[in-house]
């Protein structure tokens, strides 16, 4: 089964139980066609990743799905009262706002102090809880944003480039945490990524977007798709499931830390 035609997946876009659905969505901004005829559905507890080259409309599709931008045509349906945990593509804290990390992760939820500490520990930045957020590095901020979104106990995690700026070992760690949100909390996941390697491992279904849906399906089936290969070219050749093992891990600052034992 090399790749599935659009809209004939295990989870039918018409399935009543999908929590988020786009039907034949098109978006034209000015003279530019950003999205054309996009069908997409996310079922409860399902993990979906949007991949595609820069400027393919991935972030714009998220904005349409989340109701920030009205589509030019087509219909977007979200289950009413859907609890979303969102991690934006960029968040640059302004130093004028005094806010430390443990306060930041509580934004959007009523999580207790101990839940916040635990959430920070789980993404590897538990020792930074008193650090002002404007002093965090890019990778630390990514981890903080994921922890914050998870604390909302979301029905769907919506993550725009959730590991951008994080080193490779950290990426593995964060994708594992995202997978646990799915398996342990039953949260659906909708991710945008232009990294092809790790994300393919961490997801049920990949949707390759280049203004329209080029192909979609299980990670392995998408990888063999001709249009997908044409888009990503040589990158596909380098695709390898990340299977080798490390005898150590790296903390948020890149320092060597022992595996699985957390940080001192």
């Amino acid at each position: 089964m090399p790749n599935l035609p659009r809209g004939t997946l295990a989870m039918q876009p018409g399935t009543p139980q999908s929590i988020l659905r786009a039907e034949n969505v098109s978006l034209i901004l000015g003279a530019q066609s950003i999205l054309s005829g996009v069908d997409l559905a996310v079922a409860p507890g399902e993990s979906v990743t949007l991949v595609g080259p820069n400027g393919a409309g991935k972030t714009m599709l998220l904005r349409v799905l989340m109701g920030l931008v009205a589509p030019t045509s087509g219909v977007v349906t979200r289950r009413s009262g859907l609890r979303v945990g969102y991690s934006p593509q960029t968040l640059a804290p302004d130093p004028i706002l005094p806010m430390d990390l443990r306060r930041f992760v509580g934004i959007g939820s009523d999580a207790s102090q101990s839940h916040r500490s635990q959430a920070l520990d789980e993404v590897g930045i538990g020792d930074l809880s008193h650090r002002p957020i404007h002093e965090l590095s890019g990778g630390e901020m990514r981890r903080a944003m994921l922890a914050r979104a998870l604390l909302r106990d979301p029905e769907i995690l919506v993550l725009d480039e959730p590991v951008q700026g994080v080193d490779l070992a950290g990426q593995v760690e964060l994708y594992e945490r995202i997978s646990r949100a799915k398996t342990d909390q039953g949260s659906a996941v909708l991710m945008v990524s232009h990294d092809l390697n790790l994300v393919m491992v961490a997801t049920d279904r990949v949707i390759c977007l280049n203004h329209h849906v080029c192909c979609e399906g299980a990670p392995d089936s998408v990888r063999g798709n001709a249009e997908f290969r044409a888009l990503f070219g040589d990158d596909v050749e380098g695709l390898a499931v990340y299977t080798h093992h490390h005898d150590h891990a790296h903390g948020a600052d890149g320092e060597v830390v022992p595996l699985k034992t957390g940080r001192p």
């Binding site: 920030l68 979303v84 945990g85 430390d100 930041f104 002002p132």
Partner: protein, 269 residues
Amino acid sequence: MTEGLIGGLVVALVAAPMGCFILWRRMVFFGAAVSHSALLGVALGLALGINVTAGVVLTAAVVAVMLVILRRDKRLADDTILGVVAHGGLALGLIAMAFLEGPDIHLEAPDIHLEAVLFGDIASISRADLVWIIAGGGAGLVVLAAIWKSLLAMTVHEEMAMIEGAPVAVIRIVFMLTLAVVVGVALKVVGALLIVSLLIIPAAAARRLTTGPEAMAAIAAVIGVVAVLGGLQAHVAWDVPAGPAVVVVAVVLFGITFGAGRRSAPGPN
């Protein structure tokens, strides 16, 4: 004068959290534009024969909403639009006041002078004014407390707050209207030109001393109260104008905290 003192303290209390949000949301120039429109509001209130504070709140609210709409036009930078509206409104207000203040015109409120409107006249705060100040200031505090969590989430990342279900458009309008009310109640204390100082200087002074948003608002309130007490003391002792004296004390406090903050420079610890 007791009325003036109480009025000043109430205004300092409500200006603190409002001022924090104006700093956090990078709205200082916006606050100035809305404050300057108070002059036009006074003229409007007098011309229509309605309560002057009501005229100010109404005008400030209209200007704030108008600014929000104008700023959607991306052909002009934000500060361009704000500059046009702030100074255009001020000039229009000055002309309107000149008409109303002319010696031939008998005003129903003869205690209102241009200088008092521009720089405040805390001594002239009457018992009736005080009722307005307490009602408006109290309502402002209650509203800010009610929208605090959502407004803070919007300040961190507006799109994030919207996606996660905060009623962003409603809160933005409520915040603008609250700002208009604060401008209305602060007018008699510091005047149209200095309202924005009372909003932002105590908040800016508090920034160096705090690590959390709520603490910053609380410390800003304390600094604002000290500035009002100090300014009125200077007014009584040396007969300096009260409104500017309040602002100068606030600036001195800002200087002190800024210096103290530099010595214990923030850094990873």
